[in-house]
Symmetry: C2
Subunit: 340 residues, 2 copies
């Protein structure tokens, strides 16, 4: 039913090895021979068996994308999909397939990774760095599992990661709001222990911006959400109902920004009119729902793309690659009032 390299060799009246050379683009084939072989391949609709090839070449040409927090989280966070999208594209361009691995509990992560890598289903993995992965990474290094992490896995990590600079966006967003005249800004930040402890948080940049502007930070105006819409809603209500007069809110993620907008709506507040607001992520959902929101744009798709490119480099070269840190930017629209 499926034809093999020998069928092609027979039809083209050459040896199997010659066919092999043709399909692997070896230059050591006479043009005429190549033509004959190509014709036979087309005629038989021959596709080299990836398992046989992988067995021989010890490479599966595929990469696992591992997200250690269960389907519900993965499949609902748009940021994760942006990263996955970028990774998929980089891999596809390089001839690698993307295998999704979504362990249902954190305990299963290492098991899943062992399976995928040790049985050579994949040549390497891209993994989402969250609190707790540092212990896994030690295992990976011991086991020579090739990985690239999205964000850093442990303090001082030098290689094999693509990170985004949270402190930077916190700083530029807060500075902008302060420059426009806001004085009491509420911050809805990422969860307290989501990333590894060494990673600079949005809050650090937020505080730095205040320091730079000579404005005091009120600790009670800093609250941490869990990236969900609900938590954005609750954090915003908490800030808005506190008896401190809030000037504006800076919210670091898109779903949480949506929750904040719900709180605004319920309280009859219009962002850019009654209160300053900087939203996170700048994803289509919020952008299209509330046009004109000034937002933080983090290059998540690019992060995924670079991670895909990096893991392939690593796999093919065998050499670890220095990590990279990406900078987000502030997209200024109309939700922060100018009162200078």
């Amino acid at each position: 039913m499926h034809s093999t390299i020998y069928d092609v060799a027979n039809k083209a009246a050459v040896s199997a090895k010659t066919v092999s050379r043709v399909i692997n683009n070896s230059p050591l084939v006479a043009p005429e021979t190549r033509r004959k072989v190509m014709a036979a391949i087309a005629e038989l609709d021959f596709h080299p068996d990836s398992a046989a090839k992988g067995l021989r070449q010890r490479s599966r040409r595929s990469v696992g994308l591992v997200i250690p927090y269960g389907s519900d989280f993965v499949f609902q966070d748009p940021g994760m999909w942006a990263q996955a999208s970028g990774a998929h594209r980089a891999l596809a361009e390089r001839g690698y397939d993307l295998v999704l691995a979504v362990p249902q509990t954190p305990e299963l992560v290492l098991h899943e990774l062992s399976r995928l890598t040790k049985n050579r289903t994949v040549d390497g993995v891209i993994l989402y760095a969250m609190e707790g992965v540092d212990v896994l990474i030690k295992e990976f290094e011991r086991l020579h599992i090739r990985y690239v992490s999205l964000s850093t896995c442990y303090r001082g990590q030098k290689n094999n990661f693509i990170d985004t600079d949270s402190a930077h966006v916190g700083r530029i967003a807060a500075r902008y709001m302060l420059d426009q005249g806001a004085r009491r800004i509420g911050l809805i930040r990422e969860p307290m222990r989501f990333f590894e402890a060494g990673k600079a948080s949005t809050e650090q940049g937020f505080r730095q911006a205040h320091l730079d502007s000579g404005v005091d930070v009120d600790d009670s105006l800093i609250v941490a959400g869990d990236y969900s819409i609900e938590s954005g809603y609750e954090c915003a209500l908490k800030l808005l109902h506190s008896n401190h007069a809030i000037d504006g809110i800076l919210c670091v993620s898109d779903p949480m920004a949506l929750g904040t907008l719900r709180a605004f709506r319920e309280l009859g507040l219009e962002p850019g009119v009654d209160i300053d607001f900087v939203a996170g992520d700048d994803f289509p959902t919020t952008r299209a729902m509330w046009p004109g929101l000034t937002s933080i744009r983090t290059p998540l798709t690019e992060q995924g793309y670079l991670a895909g490119a990096m893991i392939v480099d690593y796999i093919q070269s065998g050499k670890e690659i220095p990590g990279r840190v990406l900078q987000g930017e502030l997209i200024v629209r109309q939700s922060v009032r100018c009162r200078k």
Copy 2:
């Protein structure tokens, strides 16, 4: 570096075949032998090579998920994630990996599928049925590519699909609105030529409900969106700005519902107070952003799950499986007024 089945056999002082039996859970192994082999496996940290196994057994234990419309669409539609999530879980439970295939253009779909299936990277595929796939399906059948489609690919398809009944939800949603006293309902429906031509649309159910209630349908109140937030916004504005007095809006998808809510907000309309509204999909985004919306809930995660289960059945049995149609339901909350 990696140990093989022979290393294990040596250490356990048995033959390779016996090791093979142990790792494949054959009952034909003495308990004591099994114990010895297991110990050797653990000691050597042995994992059978998936390529070698696949080559021998002619099965890769993986399934492709093919979405023929490019990354941008795929990675942004929450309904797609829900389906992907369900499919992933079903496959994981059955020991199959999920390989993502996202051809960047419709023309590349067949090529991508050929590659994945003919070179045996995957044992079968789950594919998203959209207009145009019917020609692909003929190819698949000719090539014996095993597939299960999400929704039907061509009129009269009997096997290998998991569909959802659009007409049904259109009918129950419209009937409910009519029962509550709405008389001029705008419908924001799915794109006109998104699914195969034979598939009953929401509009058909919508019309049937009107027929059942003896209420005339005004054709100008039926508009088709493209599943995006923007199109929901534009469709809603079109309906609301028409000089027909609109009672309510029925919107079949969640992102379009979000766009509709933006239109409501801009016009100062409160759903459930100033206008009736039934939203689509009932995804977290809209549900958490606007609590209290009466919504259509389509079991998309279940659809993906069943598709994953079905493709594995098909792969393992070699027999085509009769298709299934899933019914959505109406989740009644507070966005439709009762005026009886």
